[in-house]
Symmetry: C2
Subunit: 359 residues, 2 copies
C-alpha cells in the first residue's frame, strides 16, 4: 500500500495550482507524484536513478564519509497552520535535518521525502510545502532523489532523510571536547523561545482577540518559522579543524552543553553574562516578567551551532569570525576537567537546568 | 522538538518489559532511546558513529552503488492492531523497505528508524515493534544506525529508510526489459489479498461474531503479516545478470507489469493460466464467489519479485530455480514490441486491469 515515485522523464518548471479547491485525495497517487517530479531540477550526474524505480541509486563520493540523519516534522507537534504557511513548513522540515549535517561539518548531498498526508489536505498546500522544501534544497544543492507518499487519518507528517558527505578528518562530533577548550555559540539565542511564547499567549486568547505578529518580534518569528541551517559555519569549522566538538541547538543551549559534556566526558562552565540572548527576545520576556536567560537556556529550536575550540588554536575570535562570515560568534564558556555542567553568575555558580522535554 | 538518539555505550542484550502498564509518554525521551539502544547488537566496523550524535557517520563500501529507499508504515492504513501483533508491525515496516532493495538486486546495509508515537502507546508495544524490526534486521545483517522519535496526537507511524549496496553492473532496474524477454514471478500470488479479504469480512461483523484465523488461511495470513523480502533472489538475479528488469509486487502484479512496460517502453503479455495463485487463496475466493485471478492481479502486498529474463539466457527455468533455492519461480508471460499490457486467456485477450489505488 505504498506509493512510490515512478519512472518518467523529469521536465523542468514548476507545477501550477490550477485546481485550488482540490484535495490530495481527489487527485490520485500518480498525479501527486507527477506534481512533485515536475518541480525537480535536472538530477546531478551521480544520481544514477532518482525518483522513479523501487529505490534511488547513487554513486558515492570518493574519499568521503557519509553522514545520515532523519527527522519527522509533525502537524500539531512541530508546527501549526495557525502561524506557519505551507512553504514555511516545507522549509523547516528540511532545515532541521540540514542543521544536523551542519553540526557534523558535512555538505548536503541527497534527500528522501516521506509524506504522510491527510486525505482532505488541499492540493495547494502540497504545492506550498514543496515551494519551501525545494527552495531550501536548491540553495544548498541538495538533490531530492526519492521518497514515498502514504495517506493517513491523522496529522500531516513530513519525514526527511538527508545524506551528506565529509572528508574523514573533518567530521565534527560531540565527543572531542577537552579541558581548556573554549565554548562558542553562533547567532542569537532565545529567538524561537520568544516566538513560541508569543504564539502560545495568542492561542490562549479567544479567536476574536487574536492579533497579527507584533512588529518587535518579526525577526524572532521569521527565524523560528524558517531557521536557516548553519551549514557554511559547520563545514568551515570542520575544514579548518577549528572545533573539537559540535552540536546543533535543536533542544536548547543547556541540553547542547550537556550532550557535549557527556559525550566528551568533560565538564562545562558557561558564563551567564556572555550568553547572546537576542535583544528583541530579551525585551519580550522582560515585558512579560520572565527571565530571558532562563528561557534561552532551556528553549529548543534555536538551530545554532554550539562548539568547542581547542586551546592550541590562537586568535580564535578572529579566525571564527572569518569562518562565520556575517554570523555573530560568541565565546560563552570553557571546558573543564570535572563532569559538572555549570552556569556561572557574577556572584554564584548554579547547575545548568535540564533541556527541553519532548514527551 | 526532535529527540535524537544520544551518545552512550551500547550494551548487548534485550530490554525487558518490566513496566507493563506504562506508556511511552510516562517514560520520557531519554529512557525511550536507551530502550532502543540496549537492544542493538555491536555495530560493524564501517559504522564510525551510530546512534548517538547529531547524525550517523558511515564509511561507504568501495566500488559499490548505493541504493536508498524509504517507506512509511501507518496505523489504520497499513496495519491494524486488531490483527497484527507489535512484532508483526515492526517486522513488516522494515520488510516492505527491504523488498525495494531486493527489487534492485541490492544487499541491505544500514537503516534509520523514524518513530512517530502516540503518547498513550504502551511501552510493551514499543518493545514488540523492536522485536520484529530488529529480528529481521539481524537476519539480513542490517545495522540500525540512527533515527528519531517524535510524539504525535495521531496514529503510530514507523518510517524506515534503508541503505543498500550493489556492484555497478549488477543493479536491477525497471527499464531493461526487451521484446522477446520472458516474464517471471517468484512465489505465490493472492495470499495477501485473501488474508485482507478475510480481515475485512471479519471487521464488518459485530464484535461478538469475530472469529480467529480460519485454519485454511493460516499460511496466507502469516505471509500477509510478515512478508519475507526476496533479498536472496534479487541479489542472485543481479549477480548472475539473469534479469533484464525487476520490480517488487507491492501494488499487485498488474501494476508491476505496467511499471516495467512503461519504464522499458515495451509491451507485456501475461498468460492467465500461468499466474501462480496460491491454492488456499484460490479456494478462499472461490468459496466467496470471487474470481481468484482477478483479485490476485490487482491486490497489493504480495512482495514477490516480478522480473524479465533476457532471451539469450538458456535453460532459464533450471538457472532460475537454482538461484531461487526453495522459492517457486513461474514463467507467466512475454515481453512484446508493442506497448500494450495484455492478459491472454485461452479464448481472448483483455487489457490488464489497473493496480491498487492508494488514495
Amino acid at each position: 500500500m505504498h506509493v512510490r515515485f515512478e519512472n518518467r522523464e523529469v521536465p523542468s518548471g514548476a507545477a501550477h495550482d490550477d485546481e485550488p479547491g482540490r484535495s490530495v485525495r481527489d487527485t490520485g497517487e500518480h498525479a501527486l507524484i507527477d506534481r512533485i517530479r515536475q518541480r525537480l531540477p535536472p538530477a546531478p550526474e551521480w544520481v544514477r536513478l532518482g525518483i522513479g524505480d523501487d529505490a534511488a541509486v547513487l554513486v558515492p563520493e570518493r574519499n568521503r564519509l557519509e553522514v545520515l540523519t532523519t527527522d519527522a516534522f509533525v502537524e500539531h507537534v512541530h508546527f501549526s497552520w495557525a502561524v506557519s504557511s505551507p512553504s514555511d513548513v516545507g522549509f523547516k522540515a528540511l532545515a532541521v535535518n540540514l542543521s544536523d549535517l551542519a553540526a557534523m561539518g558535512a555538505a548536503p548531498r541527497a534527500a528522501l521525502l516521506s509524506l504522510v498526508l491527510p486525505g482532505e489536505m488541499p492540493l495547494a498546500r502540497l504545492d506550498g510545502l514543496l515551494d519551501g522544501l525545494l527552495g531550501l534544497a536548491a540553495a544548498h544543492r541538495l538533490a531530492l532523489v526519492g521518497g514515498n507518499i502514504s495517506r493517513s487519518p491523522g496529522p500531516l507528517v513530513l519525514d526527511l532523510t538527508v545524506l551528506g558527505t565529509v572528508k574523514p578528518r573533518r567530521v565534527l562530533t560531540r565527543s572531542g571536547a577537552r579541558p581548556g577548550d573554549e565554548l562558542y555559540v553562533s547567532g542569537w539565542l532565545g529567538m524561537a523561545a520568544a516566538a513560541l511564547d508569543w504564539h502560545e499567549r495568542r492561542r490562549s486568547r479567544t479567536a476574536a482577540a487574536e492579533v497579527g505578529w507584533p512588529a518587535e518580534l518579526t525577526q524572532c518569528i521569521e527565524r523560528w518559522l524558517r531557521p536557516e541551517p548553519r551549514l557554511h559555519l559547520g563545514m568551515q569549522l570542520g575544514r579548518n579543524r577549528a572545533a573539537s566538538a559540535c552540536v546543533d541547538l535543536s533542544d536548547g543551549l543547556s541540553d547542547g552543553a550537556r550532550q557535549i559534556a557527556r559525550a566528551s566526558d568533560v565538564g562545562i562552565t558557561i558564563d551567564a553574562s556572555a550568553v547572546p540572548v537576542h535583544e528583541a527576545a530579551r525585551r519580550w520576556f522582560e515585558s512579560h516578567e520572565t527571565d530571558p536567560l532562563a528561557r534561552a537556556l532551556v528553549a529548543g529550536e534555536d538551530y545554532e551551532l554550539l562548539f568547542t575550540v581547542p586551546r592550541a588554536i590562537r586568535r580564535k575570535q578572529t579566525l571564527l569570525q572569518r569562518l562565520a562570515r556575517d554570523l555573530p560568534i560568541s565565546r560563552i564558556g570553557i571546558v573543564t576537567a570535572g563532569r559538572d555542567v555549570v552556569l556561572r553568575h557574577a556572584d554564584r555558580d548554579e547547575a545548568l537546568p535540564a533541556g527541553f522535554t519532548h514527551f
